[in-house]
């Protein structure tokens, strides 16, 4: 009878389940009668179990005391596993390797492997039959990478590996990180794989540790996914945690995510996907638009409903298009077209005229508003396009602490919206209310036409932005979306309820049918309002009013 290891364990689990007696009635009876079993938790140490000493005869007291001591030791061990290194003699660093298999090596000061742990099922494959205990770290790394290559987890299509080093001594950790990154790079090269290596040195972090445990990934992968998700809030942590490092790396780079603290060499393979150029060609062909008629085009890799997709957004003078193309099959998954509005005072038959503001002027306005010098900022995006009848510059730039997104009116130089994201795991900073927002198409009031008389750009100081009164009250806007305050303002405008007088029940950002929307619920004068607002465009997708519940 040849059972696989997996079948063996399934069989064992079934056997135990079938044999498990039903003691529930007895338990309930005992509990109901106030029976207790002498297991007490020591209040000072959560979840430490001690056993009562009084029941033990004198000669057994010492033994009972040992229980207390050993229970405390378990706690120390448990805590130690999560918070530090000193509890195990010789443990100096934890090194994890993530491809999709996630493997963690505990390493001594002498760079010998104390233990190798498979953190997911794929890693079980890699470690199967491999005994790495007491093996030199270099040898172990060779064996692991060799096994990943052999099992096809690293290939020309998936060439990216993440190496994370945890060490209490940051300098030592960084040195080990660099050495391992070089070593893995050269192992990949010698196996004719043009590899990409991401590497980082980490300090322990309770929040990340918890996420790592929750999703069965290494602390290192949790940190990388956190970096991606915190800067691109439309992505879901659970979905990203399941992706390979190669896919995560492609998303990081396509979304121009700031890779703070992560060293990078080589380029993640995109050969499994059709590429941005082909995705654009497919979308344009589908829309019947020729490239020469484009006013703008922007393409980004994304992850939607369990697959990698290209989001292609483009505009002609007549319409704005949004396409979602399957990154593997090139199938068109979603397409939306919206005609461009033409305000009455258009002085040009090709559509609304872009304002006179140059890109450099727009950048200067944004930088001045952000309080940054040109030299301190790195621009990752500067595009001019028309949105809801207004020509604007979308500017995204970074300094060492933050990522900034500004929308600047090309006619007036006004900042229409801006958003600052604190990098490095800090809380997002909500955008200050913009001096003027984009006209909302769903509002009862028609959008105010861009001022044609104002040709000179307004100075940034003329767009004062008062600090929010309660920044914690509403979630920050995600890059590329309107803020919660704006969503509330849109709902207020439509319902004619003064924003200051409504009683907000909930403003929440959620995904509906793949579209990020704000759900804004509030009451006013005995009526309950419920708005669904497109978080990208500010359009009101649905609204409802009802008699408010008495409370």
């Amino acid at each position: 009878m040849a059972l696989s290891k997996h079948e063996l364990q399934e069989s064992l689990a079934r056997a135990v389940a079938a044999q498990t007696p039903d003691v529930l009635p007895n338990v309930l009876r005992r509990v109901g009668a106030g029976d207790t079993v002498g297991v007490e938790a020591a209040p000072a140490q959560p979840n430490t179990l001690t056993f009562p000493l009084d029941a033990a005869p004198p000669q057994k007291r010492r033994r009972a005391l040992r229980w207390v001591v050993s229970a405390a030791a378990v706690l120390v061990l448990l805590l130690g596993l999560y918070s530090g290194f000193s509890y195990v003699n010789g443990l100096d660093a934890i090194v994890s390797f993530d491809v999709n298999p996630s493997i963690e090596l505990q390493v001594t000061r002498a760079e010998k492997v104390l233990a190798a742990t498979a953190l997911n099922a794929e890693a079980d494959d890699i470690l199967d039959g491999m005994n790495l205990e007491n093996v030199d770290l270099d040898v172990a790394v060779n064996a692991l990478i060799g096994s990943m290559l052999k099992h096809g987890y690293i290939s020309a299509n998936k060439n990216t590996i993440l190496i994370s080093v945890e060490n209490n001594n940051a300098q030592k950790g960084a040195a080990l990180q660099e050495r391992l990154a070089n070593e893995v790079g050269s192992i990949l090269n010698s196996n004719a794989v043009d590899g990409a290596v991401l590497s980082q040195t980490l300090a322990d972090d309770d929040r990340l540790r918890q996420l790592a445990g929750q999703y069965g990934i290494s602390l290192g992968k949790a940190a990388l996914v956190d970096l991606l998700v915190s800067q691109n809030p439309q992505l879901d942590f659970a979905a990203m945690a399941a992706l390979s490092i190669n896919d995560i790396s492609l998303l990081l780079s396509s979304k121009q995510t700031a890779l703070e603290g992560v060293a990078y060499s080589g380029q993640a393979s995109s050969t499994a996907y059709i590429g941005e150029e082909k995705a654009e060609a497919v979308a344009l062909a589908y829309a019947g638009v020729v490239r020469s008629n484009l006013v703008s085009i922007q393409t980004e890799l994304d992850y939607e409903d369990g697959r990698m997709v290209y989001e292609v957004e483009f505009a002609t003078t007549a319409a704005e298009y949004e396409y979602e193309i399957d990154a593997q099959t090139a199938a068109v998954l979603k397409q939306e077209t919206e005609p461009v509005e033409h305000p009455a005072q258009t002085n040009d038959n090709s559509g609304v005229a872009a304002g006179p503001l140059t890109e450099d002027e727009a950048k200067a306005i944004a930088l001045q508003h952000a309080g940054l010098q040109q030299a301190d900022a790195r621009f990752v995006k500067a595009v001019r396009y028309q949105k809801q009848g207004v020509w604007l510059y979308e500017l995204i730039f970074m300094d060492s602490h933050s990522k900034y997104r500004y929308l600047v009116d090309t006619n007036t130089g006004n900042i229409l919206d801006h958003y600052i994201y604190q990098l490095g795991g800090g809380a997002s900073q909500p955008a200050e209310p913009p001096a003027s927002t984009l006209p909302q198409p769903a509002s009862d009031n028609p959008p105010a036409p861009a001022s044609s008389s104002s040709t000179a750009p307004a100075s940034a100081s003329s767009t004062p932005a008062p600090a929010p009164e309660n920044p914690a009250a509403t979630p920050p806007a995600a890059t590329g979306t309107i803020s919660a305050e704006q969503a509330q303002a849109i709902a207020a405008g439509h319902s004619s309820v003064p924003a200051g007088e409504m009683r907000v029940l909930e403003i929440k950002l959620e995904k509906e049918d793949g579209v990020l929307v704000y759900d804004v619920e509030f009451t006013y004068g005995g009526t309950e309002y419920d708005y669904e607002i497109d978080a990208a465009t500010g359009a009101i997708l649905d609204w409802d009013m009802d008699e408010a519940d008495d409370d």
């Binding site: 063996l8 064992l12 135990v16 044999q19 007696p21 309930l28 233990a115």
Partner: protein, 190 residues
């Protein structure tokens, strides 16, 4: 019933942990219905782990009963740390080891007790029963407990190591040795 073999995913473990944590909070308020819920999703793991330490179905059953009474009466002292299963299994471990001490004065399982009699329901698959008998009969104490925890709970190797008070490396190598041992034994038996 908690049967999280290695094939089942972490999301399931997570769900069970979340449910257990929720139940513990309610049990702390005296909610007996929550105890029933907790029992329903943990009983096989609790019994299997007790059996792997004690090797005697009757003793395992007694410890199982005491465990749930202990969990209920101590629910208020549980601090939610996302690892309720590890907490419950620590109680199983302690009660089972106490019982071993009481009976034999040592930490070793009850003498060389025979593999459990086939008390299980008549429809129980013969092969499954054979596997359980083999696990209880031929594996060393640590091996048996490690394999049982791995097969029945969503615990990771490092959590198993903490629970059994063994170094992680020992748990990993014993786990890797135990499964081929079982495979070979079953092959020969066949």
């Amino acid at each position: 019933m908690l049967m999280m073999s290695t094939s089942q995913n972490h999301a399931q473990t997570q769900q069970t942990d979340a449910l257990c944590e929720h139940c513990l909070a309610q049990m702390a308020q005296g909610d007996m219905a929550a105890l029933e819920k907790l029992y329903a999703c943990t009983n096989a793991a609790v019994y299997g782990f007790a059996l792997s330490i004690l090797r005697q179905p009757q003793s395992a059953e007694d410890v199982m009963q005491d465990t749930y009474v202990a969990v209920y009466s101590n629910a208020a002292s549980y601090r939610p740390m996302g690892k309720p299963m590890a907490w419950i299994l620590t109680i199983v471990r302690n009660l089972a080891r106490m019982r071993l001490r009481k009976k034999s004065g040592t930490d070793t399982p009850l003498e060389d007790s025979p593999a459990p009699p086939p008390t299980a329901g008549f429809e129980q698959n013969t092969l499954d029963r054979l596997v359980l008998q083999a696990a209880l009969g031929i594996l060393g104490d640590d091996e048996r407990q490690i394999v049982m925890l791995h097969s029945l709970t969503g615990l990771k190797h490092r959590e198993i190591a903490a629970l059994l008070e063994l170094p992680l490396g020992t748990v990993l190598s014993k786990y890797r040795r135990a499964l081929p041992k079982l495979q070979n034994y079953l092959k020969e038996e066949a």
